[in-house]
Symmetry: C2
DNA sequence: CTGAAAGCGCTAACAC
DNA sequence: GTGTTAGCGCTTTCAG
């Protein structure tokens, strides 16, 4: 027992208005070649019946769905969800719908079913918003060549022949360390994110390079690896303080770990920024309310998302218009230094 | 110049296998009435061509898309994105795709285009995951009756004839206040969320009721209204301390405001939990690393999402199977008290 | 067991 | 200007 169809069809509108479906089609698509009276009559029927054309049927015939596939992971973390939010806003504005897939784990490499699900629903393009971790990009150049649907990748190392949009983590890291140096700190340690993350590797590289270029030695005992969480920050800082006792400042690879660090510092009676300066990364909302407020590197995820959506739509619509295909390119976006109290070394 | 179709069609598979499209259809749908040899031959061709049936075409003919519409708002905040994450996991498990819409603002009442977009794409059901705020639910009972597509609402006040899944904020609030009372605090203030939020009203009602039932007076000067942010917590606590000087504990309506409160308390030299006990709400990840760690009420957004997805699928599939329609019902989920240091009053 | 015909809701191409 | 025919990719009758 199937319930009655929820929506009016073009056929019903046509017969109610006493015209052919073709004419209805012309009216709802705003084509010029309909007489004003007919148009009016049809529009009234459309209104009265609450007729809504089926995007599905249109997608089938036009071979174009006006839908983007978005693949994400770790939505329960603030970074990925901010990115996603930026994507929804930009897609809405561009008139595209979004089909969402979330990988169960960041490092998930079981991507075929994801692509299949997206492709079987005829998405016009895919935004791969999963950060590059470990081997989770190995497949990028092994995608079937006949998969001629554009993909834009977020948060990964730029590569030939693919489209990438990323925050410039290296530039951000350099800013963080330079700022600490300018404040007069001379023994700057680092707490990195998990080093299988590309972003974490960029940040630690920036720390190393900046120190070396300024003439400082960088030893292995000067840094430790965390896992992005506050708790890891709290536990690894203990080790770092022990193995690098002369340390007077730390560049911490994200704000959450910095929070853990600050907790331990308080417990140990270390004053921030007097005894130890701290700079984080991300500029999460709470960081302005840490004790003391945290100096950090702001990455603007909204811009990343906006650029990614605009990029993929440009590629899609160029293909559709039969223009020359847009060449894949990488876009790196700059970060901003937000100076707060945790790094303002009192001038002695 | 249209590029060649990216995917093989059933027709191509059929002619390559030397059978009718019908037979291919039977094979890919696992129907029994195909001879083993034919089946094998078809499967090989399917494999070789990488054939993937079009979910779009299927949706059209079956009048069933296996797609859920999800409407959310404020994805950049942690609550909504955790909810969404739970929905993606549950939907994936159930074999449903997700079409995502994010309202630009929580209080957005411009919902027609949202429904139109989802309906035109033939979603089988809608999960309305926007919290109830101000007038943003006025339309619930005015939806066109012929919109016979199931909707499950999250985070709203239970109402007749609609399906709702919510955390029991009232029960959570009662637990928070009872805990403070048990700890021996006797002058318990409250910092509420914005009172146009249903969830905030539930929490403040729980605070009032619990105190009154225990025989305490509740005066207007005993509470102030925040806006969920750490900064608002920091600013309203000043006012509250002034107008309620004998206050020895606070139930703060979320963890982020509690963070702001703690910052100010430190500055004023108030010891937590000795001079003032604090209980938050939400159990955000960071709250375990506040100084001191924050006692709070945990709401399990994953369960909410899971229940909501299961509920809507039950409704959808009952309708599809021609069973009696499932009656709309409300589900309220209990919270858990997480005791940490901010509320552990030293026994004198 | 298999195929032919019809059609889901819509639009492109052509007639009139 | 408007209607007719055909068909997007698939599945559901119904013959055989």
């Amino acid at each position: 027992m199937r319930q009655k169809p929820s929506r009016a069809t073009i056929k019903e509108v046509a017969s109610a208005a006493g015209v052919s479906t073709q004419t209805v089609s012309r009216v709802i698509n705003g084509r010029p070649d309909v007489s004003p009276e007919t148009r009016k009559r049809v529009q009234e029927v459309v209104e009265r019946l609450g007729y809504q054309p089926s995007a599905l049927a249109r997608s089938l015939i036009r071979q174009r769905s006006h839908t983007l596939g978005v693949v994400t992971a770790g939505l329960k973390y603030i970074g990925p969800s901010r990115i996603l939010s930026g994507i929804t806003m930009a897609a809405e504005e561009a008139g595209y719908a979004l089909l969402l897939k979330e990988l169960p784990r960041f490092e998930d490499n079981h991507i075929e079913p994801i692509f299949q699900a997206l492709i079987s629903r005829h998405v016009d393009g895919i935004i791969w918003a999963v950060p590059e971790i470990g081997e989770n990009r190995n497949w990028v150049h092994q995608l079937p060549v006949d998969l001629d649907i554009p993909i834009v990748y977020l948060a990964m190392n730029p590569q030939e022949n693919i489209s990438v949009v990323s925050i410039d983590n290296y530039q951000g890291g350099r800013m963080a360390v330079s700022h600490l140096l300018e404040q007069g700190y001379r023994h700057i340690g680092h707490i990195s994110g998990p080093l299988d993350w590309w972003e974490a590797r960029q940040r630690i590289a920036a720390w190393k390079d900046t120190l070396k270029e300024t003439g400082f030695e960088v030893e292995d005992r000067h840094w430790v690896e965390g896992n992005w969480s506050s708790s890891s920050g709290a536990s690894v800082i203990e080790k770092l303080l022990e193995q690098y006792p002369e340390m007077d400042a730390i560049f911490v690879a994200n704000d959450q770990m910095a929070l853990g660090v600050m907790q331990v510092a308080h417990q140990k009676g270390l004053r921030i920024p007097e005894d130890i300066g701290i700079v984080g990364f991300d500029n999460i909302v709470e960081s302005a309310y840490f004790l003391p407020s945290l100096t950090t590197i702001q990455q603007d995820q909204y811009t990343v998302s906006k650029v990614a959506v605009e990029e993929i739509i440009k590629i899609i619509e160029a293909g559709w218009a039969g223009l020359d295909p847009i060449a894949p390119r990488s876009v790196m976006l700059e970060t901003t230094l937000i100076v707060r109290n945790s790094s303002l070394r009192p001038t002695t």
